[in-house]
Amino acid sequence: MTDAIALLVVVPIVLALAPIAFGRLWDRTGWLAALLAGLAHLGLALVVAATVFSTGRFTYAVGNYRPPFGIELVADGVSATLALLVSIVTLAVVVYARRAGPDTNEFYSGLLILTAGISGVFVTGDLFNLYVFIEITGLATYALVATGRSPAAALSSLKYLLVGTIGASLYLLGVGYLYISTGTLNMADLAATIPEVGYDSPLILTGFGLIVVGLAVKAALFPLHTWQPDAYADSPDSVTAYISALVSTAAAYALFRVIYAVFTPAFDAATPFALDALVILASVSVVVGSVLAVLQSDLKRMLAYSSVAQFGLIVAGFAVANATAVTGGLIHLVGHAIMKAGLFVGVGALAGVAGGRTVDDFAGVADRAPVTSAAFAILAFALVGVPPAVGFAGKWHIVLGAVEGGRWGVAVVAVVSTLLTLAYFARVVERMYFRDAAAEPAGDADGPPVDAPATDGALASDGGSGGSGVDVDPDDDASVTPEDGDGSAPDASAVSIEAKAVVVAAAVGAVVLGLFATDLVSVFEPVLEVYFE
C-alpha cells in the first residue's frame, strides 16, 4: 500500500509517453492517456490519504535504500491533501482542454510530465530530489507556456526559463551549502544535524538565504515575479489555469517544508532576522502585487498580479512561524489553487462571449452567460475573503496567527490586501452585471456570434430579464458550437459546457472547502504539532 506514494509520480510519467508512442495510430491518445492518468492519480492520492488518516505520517524508501542514504518519500496530512488537489485540478483541466485546446498529443504529454513533477515536489523528503522535481516541473511548464500560438508565448516562455533556471540553480547552490556543512540531504536528517553545525554558521545562513530566494523566484514573490504575468497572459487558457493553480503552489509548499521540516522553528528562535526578512519580502509582495493588479486592464494579467499578492500572503503566513498562521497559509495555498484555476477558466470561457479579455470587454457579459458569470463572481468574492468561502478561512487564520505572534504589520497588510483585492474584482463584477455591452458587442469577432449577442444585449437593456421567457440564452446552446478546439478562443459564441462545468465546480469547491475549513485545520494539525512541539 505504501507503494502508492511512489506511483503518484511514476504513473503520470509513464502515461506521458503514451501520446508520443501511440499518437500516430490514434490522434485522441493524448486526451485518453491524460484522463486515465488523472483518474489513476486520484485513486492513488485517495489511497495515500486514507493511509495517512488511519496510520499517520508514513515514509517510503526509494529502491529500498535506507533513508539517510537513499531517497525518502514522505506522506503526511499536508502532502496527501495537496496530492488530492493535483488530481482534481488535472482532471478539471483535462476536461476543459478537450474543447478549449490546445488539444494536441504533445500538450497532454507535457501536462502529464508536469503532473508528475508537481506530485514529486509534494511527496519527496530529500532536498536534492526536490531540486530534480522542481526542474521537471519547470521544464514541463516552459514547454506548456510555449504551446501558445503567438510568438510572444515563445518569448515569455524563454524569459520564464532564464529567470526560473536561475532561481532553481540558486536553490541548488543553497542545498550544496547545507550538504557540505552537514553531509546529508535528507530533510529529517538535516533537521537533526543542522543544530550540531550551529544555526548561526555562515554556511547554514547562506544556504537558507539562497534556498529562500530560489524558491521565491519560483513562487513569484515581488520583486522576483517578473516572469509570471507574461507567462500567464501569453499561454493558452487551460495552461494558465493549470500552472496558476499548481506550479507556484509547489514552490510555496517547498518553502514551507524547507522552513519547518529542515530548519525547524528552533532556527527561527536562534536567528529571528532570517524569517523577519522573509516576512518583509512577503508583505511587500502582497501590497505591490495588489496595487499592480488594480492597475491592469487585461484580465489575465490582473489575475497574474493577484497571484503575486496571494502568494505573498501565503509566504507571510509561513514566515510568521506559529501554528495558526502556518495553518492559514496552507489553507490559503489549497484554496487559492482552486479559486485561481476557476477564475482563469472563467476568463477564458467568458472572453469567448465578450469578444476580448480586458475589463471593459466584460461589460454586460452576465446577461449573455449568466451561469458562468455567477460562478466567476462567487470565485472573485471567495478570493477577496467573503465568508463562508475558503478565502476567508485562510486569511482569517493568517491574521489571527499574525496577531498571536505580535506581527501587527502582517495583520495590517492582510487586511489592506483584502481591500485591494475587492477593488480589482469589484470593478470587473460591476461591469459584468451593471453595465450594458458596448454598442457593437462582437465588433472584432467575425462570424456567427454577431447576431446572437446583439439580440441578447437588446433584451438585456430592455429590463435585464434575459432568458426568462426567451430561449436565445447562448449559455445553454453550448453543445451546438462547432469548435474543434484549436486554441483560437475569441470566435466561440458561447461558453462550452466543459468550461461551465469546471468554473461552477470550482465555485462550489471554494464554498464547500470554506464550510469544511475546520476539518482541513484538523488534517494539518498533526503535521504542525510535530514542528511546533
Partner: protein, 119 residues
C-alpha cells in the same frame, strides 16, 4: 591572501564563473548569449559541488581499492543528474530561440521589443 589563492583557488573559480554567468544573462541583449551565460552560471555551481567532493589522495569507496580516506561519490553523482537537467534546459531554450527567430527575424531583445511595440 596568497595563501587563500593557492589553497582555495577552486572556490574562487566557482565564484568567478557564477558571477560571469549572471553578468552574461543580465547584460547581453542577445538571447543566445543569455543562454550561454546561463550555462556558465550553472557550470559554476556544478564546479562547486564537484570540487567540494574532492579529497586529496583519497581512494574510491569500492571494496578492495586501498584503505581510507575514501572520497564520497555522492556530490559527483548529484552533479551528473544536474548536468542532465542543464542539458535539457538548454535544449528547450534553444528550441524556443529557433521559434523566436522565425517569428521576429532577430535574436536581439531590444529589436524584438521594438517589433512588438509596432504591432
Amino acid at each position: 591572501m596568497i595563501d587563500l589563492l593557492s589553497t582555495h583557488y577552486n572556490y574562487l573559480v566557482f565564484v568567478a564563473l557564477v558571477g560571469i554567468g549572471l553578468y552574461g544573462v543580465t547584460a547581453s541583449s542577445n538571447l543566445v548569449k543569455k543562454i550561454i551565460g546561463l550555462n556558465v552560471f550553472q557550470v559554476g555551481i556544478f564546479l562547486f559541488f564537484v570540487t567540494s567532493g574532492y579529497v586529496d589522495g583519497a581512494a574510491p569507496p569500492v571494496v578492495g581499492h586501498g584503505s581510507g580516506p575514501f572520497a564520497s561519490p555522492l556530490p559527483h553523482v548529484l552533479i551528473l543528474t544536474a548536468i542532465v537537467v542543464g542539458v535539457s534546459l538548454t535544449a528547450v531554450a534553444l528550441a524556443l530561440v529557433v521559434r523566436i527567430y522565425d517569428a521576429y527575424g532577430t535574436l536581439d531583445e531590444e529589436a524584438i521589443r521594438e517589433v512588438q511595440l509596432n504591432d
